[in-house]
Amino acid sequence: MADRRLDLAVRLRPYRVLLASRAHAQMQYRTSFVTDILGTVGVGLAEFAEVWVIFHNVDVLGGLDFTAALLVFALSNLAFSLADMFVGHLDQLPRYIRAGQVDAFYVRPLPLLAQLMTSDLSLRRVGRLSVALVALIVALTTADISWSTATVALILLTIVSGTAIFSALFTTAGGLQFFLVDGAEFTNAFTYGGQYAAQQSQQIFPDPLRIFWTFVIPTAFVAYLPAVAILDLPGDPLAPTWLAWCTPLAAALAWALAGLCWRSGTRHYQGAGG
């Protein structure tokens, strides 16, 4: 067992060194780093302001009151900012290709996707992350929750799986960049659009959109479905409460699609040349 752990540490060492170097590089420009963090705090607060403005006018929207909406907001923003921090740069692939960086990745003895993922670490997203974290703590302490081991497990499971779902979306977007010329605008509809959809009550959407955000691009699993289960709300008649526990399954499916997309993308690159 100890041997295996050591083995894993050795195997992951290149990535640890790569990520540490990215962190180090950002720290070299202290002032711009601090302003960047303040910027993403601003983004997080602006997102929050929307929720606040809505519930300043109505008491309940799509079956959620302010506290429930805050929980949805917190879970979705937490997952999104974590994913954005680690792999949010994947849709920048055209820039990497133009700079010849992708060819350099090919001549290094590590998998391409792993290199691209660890080629950047947007520490400035810590700002938005901390807004989400504060919102989560406030929501969980003010909401009427019957706490149990299952609740805690569901919350942790949701954060991990939600991050995986958004990471899969970014990876899919990255894979598509191999085919599209400056396609980030198009794929933003699914990544940032998915993030926006994830922080809403699914009940505000008409049926086709609700089905889309649950079963096609599974962002409903990131926050809404778990929040409904945590708070024991009636929820969406289309999606029973036990679906909240299927978040890892949704993440796995999203990753299967992402893997497929990425593989065909790199094949296409090898076909089309750099």
Partner: protein, 310 residues
């Protein structure tokens, strides 16, 4: 076993065939210049050797490995320098790039440190180790790129236009280092270049590619002999003189300013610059002279013309 082997290698792009039934073999320890006009298929070949591009048909073996099946296996045994692209981390001090690459190649830390020290010493990069890569001059950066590509002691070093844009002194240092590296470790070199000096000083074999096909495979003197490329001695005389005809084994190409500057072409196989100079200076006062080497584009053009293309 050959370190590079291609058989009937073909690579098509949408409208063109970049590599056309290319068959070649490079043996361990050789230093091979891979030359040709822009778009002749040099970079496409290198990309197929390293697994960046998938061949349309034919086979490639690099260090005995099929790069399409085991790109990472190839990457462990080959070092690649793209003259126009960087392997380094531009926003960090140079020292850290070497550390990261050592981790990527999973080198033993002590061995990596020793290897880095040796390369830094040989390439005289000590003073630049603390400098961010983006602040290095082009010559410094190219030396760093080569050190980076050699850090994992590859058997094969592929250099794509390593001296492009470098000043004379930087070129000189790079070439001297590569010669020493070869002598010391027997590293196989494959380099593309537009600079005849690179080929002359580094390579014992030249491959000329034209429209994706191999147009010439042999030594540099053999190449020059094939196309009849000649060196040129440009002589500035002390006084205006008659045309310098009748110098053995030379042809007068041009006479300027009433004979003050004269250009004599000579065949490097038949005579030497010293012999020509001795002959001229015995009869005239020589003020200055330069030697012009056959230009690589010119040699390639002649090869193409000879093979009925171009």
């Amino acid at each position: 076993m050959s370190i590079i082997e291609t058989r009937d290698l073909v690579r098509d792009f949408k409208r063109t065939r970049a590599v056309d039934h290319l068959t070649l073999a490079v043996e361990p320890g050789e230093a091979v210049g891979y030359i040709g006009a822009n778009g002749a298929g040099k970079s496409t070949t290198i990309k197929m050797l390293t697994g960046i591009l998938k061949p349309t048909s034919g086979t490639v073996r690099t260090c005995g490995i099929d790069p399409m099946r085991d790109r990472i296996g190839v990457a462990r045994r080959v070092g690649v320098v793209f003259g126009q692209r960087s392997q380094l981390w531009w926003d960090l001090p140079l020292r850290e790039s070497f550390g990261i690459l050592a981790a990527i190649h999973r080198l033993d830390p002590a061995a990596a440190a020793a290897r880095t020290d040796r390369l830094v010493e040989q390439l005289e990069m000590g003073p630049q180790l603390g400098t961010p890569v983006r602040s290095l001059s082009l010559g410094q950066r190219m030396r760093a790129e080569i050190a980076a590509a050699l850090l994992h002691t590859p058997e094969l070093l592929i250099l794509d236009e390593p001296t492009i844009g470098l000043d004379v002194l930087s070129k000189q240092r790079l070439r001297e280092f590569l010669v020493a590296e070869r002598r010391e470790r027997g590293t196989t070199l494959l380099l593309t270049t537009h600079d005849m000096g690179d080929i002359e000083r580094l390579c014992d074999r030249v491959l000329v590619v034209d429209h994706g096909r191999l147009a010439f495979d042999g030594t540099l003197p053999g190449l020059a002999a094939t196309v009849g490329a000649q060196r040129m001695l440009v002589i500035d005389l002390a006084e205006p003189s008659l045309d310098l005809t009748g110098v053995p084994n030379t042809t007068l190409v041009e006479s300027e300013s009433g004979g003050l500057r004269q250009r004599l072409a000579f065949d490097a196989e038949a005579t030497t610059a010293a012999a020509v100079l001795a002959h001229v200076s015995a009869r005239h006062g020589v003020r200055d002279l330069t030697i012009e080497e056959p230009d690589i584009e010119d040699v390639v053009r002649r090869i193409y013309a000879a093979s009925g293309r171009g």
